[in-house]
Amino acid sequence: MSFDWIKLLGFIVTPLIASVVGFTYMGLSRKITARVQNRVGPSVSQSFIDVVKLYSKKTAIHHGLMQHMGPVFAITASITTLFFIPVLKDSLFFANFSFRGDLVFLMYIMVFGQLGMALGAGQTGNPNSAIGVSRGLSQMVGYKVPYVLGLLAIMVHFKTTNLQELIAVQDGFRNWMIFQMPLASIAGLLAYLGFMAYAPFDVPFAPAELASGPPSEFGGKYLALMMTSRSIFTFAKLVLFVDLFFGGASNFFELLIKTFVLYLFALFVGLVNPRFRTEQSIQFWWKWPTAIGALALLLVAWKG
């Protein structure tokens, strides 16, 4: 196999673009939140300013090796996740590591960052972190069920586990997955709300109740690393769900529009809802989204 310089350049450029887009979306979300609450709100670049400030903090303390490694695991997992998602349709430059079984691999690797965070937050010894970690992992058990059921239905129906092949079958507006397989898509998109962790599913972070949960003992550069990781991961998740259900994107303009609309969906749901309790959020996913996902899988099995 020949060494591919264009792909190497893609590996360097993709995380940079992802973090810039992620931070811009986070800034826009703060602005939109402010406008909804009848405020002026911060500037759109506020997230960039925040993260530069955190990187330029003069001191940073840690409570042990695992807390030191936690944010590093998180950012490694975010970038790895991004590398296995084809950012643009039929693009050599942004296809990255996409291979035959990448959808199955993504199901596993997307959990890794949260597990790293859990290990890191566990060592701080802060009770709020421990509660936040346990809530986050319980919630993950909740939303992973409809997500996997929906994806399984899609994979069985099209007999492929490759994201690029799945994008290829969604050629044209009418063939988007959300119109081809509406039940599986609804299950997946409800699970997407859990991935984004906006209200009512911001159970693990709960600033008023848990003092921001897992990251409560992280300050300075550790927090900055976690914010960077979060921005990259947000972009990766948005691109994954656009690729899965909305036919991917063939240029950046299309990609930005589709991802932003998807981002607004999670944000607007969050703006009008209070927070669930842990058991309520798990019950939510194990009731209707799971039923819809199971129905989608049954229909696929019945049709053959």
């Binding site: 703060r30 002026v40 709100g41 530069v52 400030k53 003069k58 008023a208 003092a211 990251p215 300050g219």
Partner: protein, 184 residues
């Protein structure tokens, strides 16, 4: 502004970027010590909207930059305030809020409140009033932003350099000092 990058004694371009970032992103520790904390919700919410200036609340001291001492400080509260302040990551700033932090205010002859906050923590900005209205609070924050951009808000360096003096003054009022001398 005339900036010479090669001037080693002057402020480097990195310092200017850093002070710009810390100026426009002030995270306040959500910890109200006295009655003045009642003025913080109107400052943060729709009417006065402090988030315009990048000022937001943060739940834990590790993430926060600004410690807002809202009103009188009982000696019991002072102990918690010192712990919170020392857990914050520098550069960090203290704003004394209301007359009580300046000279004791209406608690000037109380047996268990401190009279002058400056003896125990390095205060960068005082906001006068009992209580200061949200406009006054925002003007205090803007003053702090000006001081940061001029490189004047160095309270945390003063505290680090004179830790022994501050610690002895703190131990004078806190009789039962049952916490480690090293808090951060």
């Amino acid at each position: 502004m005339d900036i010479n990058i090669n001037d080693k004694d002057g402020r480097k371009i990195v310092d200017i970027i850093q002070s710009y970032a810390s100026k426009h992103s002030l995270w306040v520790l959500a910890y109200g010590t006295g009655c003045g904390a009642i003025e913080i919700p109107p400052t943060m919410t729709s009417r006065y909207d402090a988030e315009r200036f990048g000022i937001t609340g943060r739940p834990t001291p590790r993430m926060a930059d600004v410690l807002l001492i809202t009103g009188y400080l009982a000696t019991k509260t002072l102990k918690r305030v010192i712990r919170s302040y020392e857990q914050m990551q520098s550069p960090k700033y203290v704003i004394g809020f209301g007359s009580c932090t300046i000279n004791g205010g209406m608690y000037w002859d109380s047996y268990n409140t401190i009279k002058s906050l400056d003896h125990y923590l390095p205060v960068d900005v005082y906001i006068n009033g009992c209580m200061p209205r949200p406009e006054a609070v925002i003007s205090g924050f803007v003053k702090l932003q000006e001081m940061i951009s001029n490189g004047e808000a160095k309270g945390w360096e003063k505290y680090r350099d004179n830790i022994d003096l501050y610690r002895s003054q703190q131990k004078e009022v806190i009789k039962n000092w049952q916490m480690p001398d090293y808090n951060w």
